[in-house]
Symmetry: C2
Subunit: 204 residues, 2 copies
């Protein structure tokens, strides 16, 4: 899964209607050019592909002043919005070793209801755990331990990073459960709100 689709879809969604350069600027303002593969080429390409697949609707705009490049505005479709949510869920849940996917997911996390966000992050924890197990298995089969030599350092690296990822995820879950940020369907900025009624049965 590439982060670009999620990023582009999310950016267009925010604007209602946007052309490539706006999307570009949006992503830049989020710092996305630092941590993702979203460069002009990829973005314009993604816009075209998404339009071809019916997830965006392309409107050709004839430039009023005559001259200038033919610009195209894009609008998100119903299917596009669905795809956005589905990519977002996938990004939060999956242990994809590429951090840009996760970062994008975090960037859009407030577009989900608070409860779902927590549930997805908990699913993420489980998958991390499971993957950690599969790594240690793969590198310590029946030949006994310590036979690996320096290649065992690769396993070490992955385990270390899985643990760090899990720790970060737990921190985020905690902050969200404590009422940080404003999620989909919530109105008030949640500063110092007491536990909400509908929320007292978390972890159910």
């Amino acid at each position: 899964m590439s982060a670009v689709r999620l990023l582009v879809l999310g950016a267009v969604r925010r604007h209602g209607r946007a052309h490539g350069y706006q999307v570009l600027n949006d992503l830049e303002s989020w710092g996305a050019h630092e941590w993702s593969t979203a460069k002009p080429g990829s973005i314009y390409h993604a816009l075209k592909q998404l339009a071809k697949q019916g997830l965006l609707l392309a409107h050709e705009i004839a430039p009023s002043t005559a001259g200038g490049p033919p610009r195209t505005e894009y609008e998100i479709t119903r299917r596009g919005a669905e795809e956005f949510l589905s990519l977002l869920r996938e990004a939060l849940v999956s242990h994809d070793q590429r951090m840009d996917v996760l970062s994008s997911g975090v960037g859009f996390i407030v577009h989900l209801p608070r409860r779902e966000a927590v549930a997805l992050l908990e699913e993420r924890l489980q998958r991390l755990q499971q993957w950690r197990g599969s790594v240690t298995d793969h590198y310590a089969p029946e030949d006994g331990p310590g036979q690996l030599g320096h290649v065992g350092e690769i396993m070490h690296l992955w385990v270390h990073s899985a643990d760090a990822g899990a720790q970060w995820t737990r921190g985020l879950i905690e902050r969200i459960e404590d009422g940080a940020y404003t999620f989909e369907g919530e109105e008030e900025p949640s500063v110092g709100v007491p536990a909400e009624d509908e929320d007292h049965s978390r972890h159910a």
Copy 2:
């Protein structure tokens, strides 16, 4: 930088001469199919490209039994070996958010002299540190802290992962300095060796 070139070059180097399928199996035996993008398509493609660029030499093998696909064996060239070392150094040093590059680097680290390995990892530490700084800068400019909202979680994620990476790197440096593993130019399996004479001026 893609991990595939390094991986393929390293695999061919080990064998002296290898065809695509051997490389594939090699990588699989290192678990590389789990943590890298090295799939059959990428590997065959990389072999062809590397040959085209003069880093590998292609030998067409006419199949003895007549029939079967036309297989090609590859041999590493002098320039290929140089490129291998250069990619390896880059992989160890660069903070490339893709872990497959680092993993490949670790997998080949013993093909460098012990001293150089340590030096490169120390360089890596510095770069991580520097990058960590640039992330916190980007997300906390002049608008005062705490204005970020949930997007600040992205920064949190990156900082967390930079710290985890640094910690792992320090651990590896320590193990290497303590004599673990056998590096380029060393003969004996280094169990319990005392500090070597040529090595007492590390950190110079």
